[in-house]
């Protein structure tokens, strides 16, 4: 090697210094580029007080509306005489600038710091600062932000537990009701399970619709003046005739009142009344006679009931019935026998049977009749011949030898 290690001056180490410096800058830039390592940035220190740290440590994240803006620098216990809600103090270091604008535009004196869990499972906490409004003043160094305790997972579980118990308590009767309803018990069950209500409602509605339709049609036709109702509504004739009738009636009643005509007489003259009265008394006498006839009928019916006389015997004595029945049974046995005979006859048994079924007799008879016919014609011819030529037959020749 050209250079020795002895008596090196700094000028001879220029390359080494340059390389080292270059590497250091490179390393710094690598770390700084992700924003994780930034020793030169100025920070704003703000404070918040809580009842307990609950997993908040130095290095925990500080967020502004969920965006990471810094870290918790220190968590310190406050003196023992401090109030119950403020036992610890978290000192936060947040970036002074955010997207080129001072952070104090966003964190105001009316911002609140909230202790939030990083996840459901983890016990780690972070501080979330809510953005302030225009009403608040910009926060200064070491200002104490108002703090708000977020619901911890433990509190949430407790609340959920209570809620669950209440739901459970409610669930048992609900379940029973629903079970009953499911089985079709009670009104609710019937409503749910039985579709009769629905069917009848449906049909009712259908009928109602139909009725409405008909009613509308009727009203339409009435409006048009069709039919009696239409005429009634539209046609003034009825009104006119009614009016006329009424005026006539008025006239009639006037005449009646004055004693004119039959009706007038009826109303004013008492002759009719007297005649009527006499007629009624006659009627009463007739009614009395009818009563006696009725009595006679009664007597007859009692004697009938007691079995007196022919009609009574007919009603009460069952001998006649028995006789009739006897006769009928005999008749029926006779009929049966006759039936049997007829059946035999149809089958061709016995004389009648043969007579009915066998054609031989008929044929023989026929033959005989035809023979007889022939015979009689021959006889006729003979008689004719005899009458024409009686000598032919009446010549008696005696031949003796």
């Amino acid at each position: 090697m050209a250079r020795t290690q002895k008596n090196l001056t700094l000028s001879q180490l220029r390359v080494g210094i340059f390389v080292l410096f270059g590497l250091m800058v490179l390393a710094f830039l690598i770390l700084n580029s992700t924003g994780d390592f930034n020793p030169f940035e100025k920070k704003l220190r703000i404070k918040a007080r809580f009842a307990a740290a609950d997993g908040l440590r130095a290095g925990s994240e500080v967020q502004l509306a969920g965006v990471n803006i810094g870290k918790v620098e220190e968590v310190v216990l406050l003196p023992p005489e401090s109030p119950e809600d403020f036992k610890i103090e978290a000192i936060m270091a947040v970036s002074l600038d955010l997207y080129g604008r001072p952070i104090t535009e966003r964190i105001r004196t009316d911002s609140t710091a909230q202790l939030v869990s990083t996840s459901v499972l983890a016990n780690d906490k972070l501080i979330n600062i809510s953005p302030g409004s225009q009403k608040g003043q910009p926060v200064g160094e070491n200002d104490i932000l108002e703090s708000k305790e977020a619901i911890s997972i433990n509190q949430l579980t407790q609340t959920g537990n209570d809620l669950l118990q209440q739901i459970n308590r409610l669930a048992t009767p609900t379940n029973e009701i629903l079970n009953k309803a499911n089985q079709g018990e009670g009104t609710l069950g019937q409503i749910i399970n039985n579709d009769q209500l629905y069917q009848s409602l449906d049909s009712t509605i259908g009928e109602a619709k139909l009725t409405m339709l008909k009613l509308q049609n009727t009203l339409d036709s009435v409006n048009k003046g069709d039919g009696s109702a239409g005429k009634f509504v539209r046609d003034p004739a009825l009104y006119d005739s009614l009016k006329e009738t009424v005026s006539q009636l008025e006239a009639i009643s006037k005449e009646i009142r004055e004693g004119k005509g039959t009706a007038g007489k009826f109303v004013t003259d008492d002759a009719f009344y007297n005649e009527t009265k006499a007629a009624i008394s006659d009627l009463r006498v007739s009614v009395g006679k009818i009563g006696s006839i009725a009595d006679d009928f009664k007597e007859i019916s009692t004697s009938l009931r007691e079995g007196r006389g022919t009609a009574g015997k007919l009603l009460k004595d069952d001998k006649l019935y028995d006789d009739v029945q006897n006769t009928l049974s005999k008749f029926s046995s006779t009929a049966e026998k006759l039936d049997a005979i007829l059946a035999d006859a149809r089958a061709g048994k016995g004389t009648i049977g043969r007579l009915v079924t066998d054609e031989t007799l008929y044929n023989n008879m026929n033959q005989t009749m035809s023979n007889v016919n022939q015979f009689s014609s021959e006889g006729t011819k003979l008689l004719y011949d005899f009458r024409q030529n009686p000598k032919k037959f009446l010549t008696i020749k005696f031949k003796l030898f």
């Binding site: 290690q5 220029r14 390359v15 080494g16 390389v19 080292l20 690598i30 580029s33």
Partner: protein, 256 residues
């Protein structure tokens, strides 16, 4: 000489040497047969140890992470965990350490004994630049082949993890493969291949410098071999950190 000066001096010498070697690649004369010989030595020669290291590293990763993962019922992600760890970090670093141990020591011992036996001076007297003839092929071979060795380490590491997962923890091979596929992305592989390029440069620069700066006979050769391996490994691990951080930013890695 105080340690700061010594450190600055060594840094300077290593930088100049590496720079000279890299520049030598762009101008003639190039020593291609020497480069191929070095590539054979660095690549093929190191392949068995890299494969073994990768295989058992993957295996031990599954062996250790599986119980923890099953405690959270996340056994299905064993492949993901192993693949991510191997491809992003362990593959490049372990490979670089193994090569640093095997090739770094070989280079510094070879160059050191050449210095001690004044072969370098003879070479220089004959008009051959030892940086071109000796340093450039070695650094080039390391830069070119360390990423390839890393890929071999990654692949065999994942295979080793799969073998352990299916044979010891009775995990279905398909589950493991699916998990590995889920776990690795292109950026992971890219990052895992960029790192060894730098590691190759560091190992080559440090061990060549150590070899060429050997003094004091055979004892000096031993000393420079030791310091080549030690300093090379330390430099690899330190640079790995900053490289990882830079690659996380550039390739948008490290977010699951």
């Amino acid at each position: 000489m105080n340690p700061l000066k010594k450190f600055l001096f060594e840094l300077q010498e290593i930088s100049i040497l590496s720079f000279g070697a890299l520049m030598a690649l762009f101008t003639k004369p190039r020593y291609i047969p020497e480069t191929i010989k070095q590539m054979d030595l660095v690549g093929v020669g190191s392949l068995p140890i890299v494969i073994l290291t990768g295989f058992f590293t993957g295996g031990v990763l599954v062996l250790q992470t599986f119980p923890t993962l099953s405690y959270y019922s996340a056994q299905g992600q064993a492949g993901e965990a192993v693949a991510t760890a191997l491809v992003r970090e362990l593959g490049p670093v372990l490979c670089a350490l193994m090569v640093s141990g095997r090739i770094g020591s070989a280079i510094s011992a070879e160059l050191g004994s050449m210095v001690v036996s004044q072969q370098i001076d003879a070479m220089r007297a004959l008009g051959t630049d030892p940086v071109r003839k000796l340093v450039a092929p070695r650094i080039f071979a390391l830069i070119l082949l360390l990423p390839l060795l890393t890929v071999a380490a990654d692949v065999f590491g994942i295979i080793g993890g799969g073998v352990i997962a299916s044979n010891i923890y009775n995990q279905d091979t398909n589950v493991f493969i699916t998990s590995v596929r889920n776990g690795i992305e292109t950026q992971d592989i890219l990052g895992g291949i960029i790192k060894p390029v730098f590691f190759g440069l560091i190992i080559g620069g440090v061990s060549c410098y150590r070899g060429l700066s050997t003094r004091g006979g055979t004892v000096g050769v031993g000393l420079s071999t030791t310091s080549a391996v030690v300093q090379g490994s330390i430099a690899v691990i330190i640079f790995d950190f900053f490289l990882s951080k830079a690659l996380q930013t550039i390739l948008d890695l490290g977010r699951l």
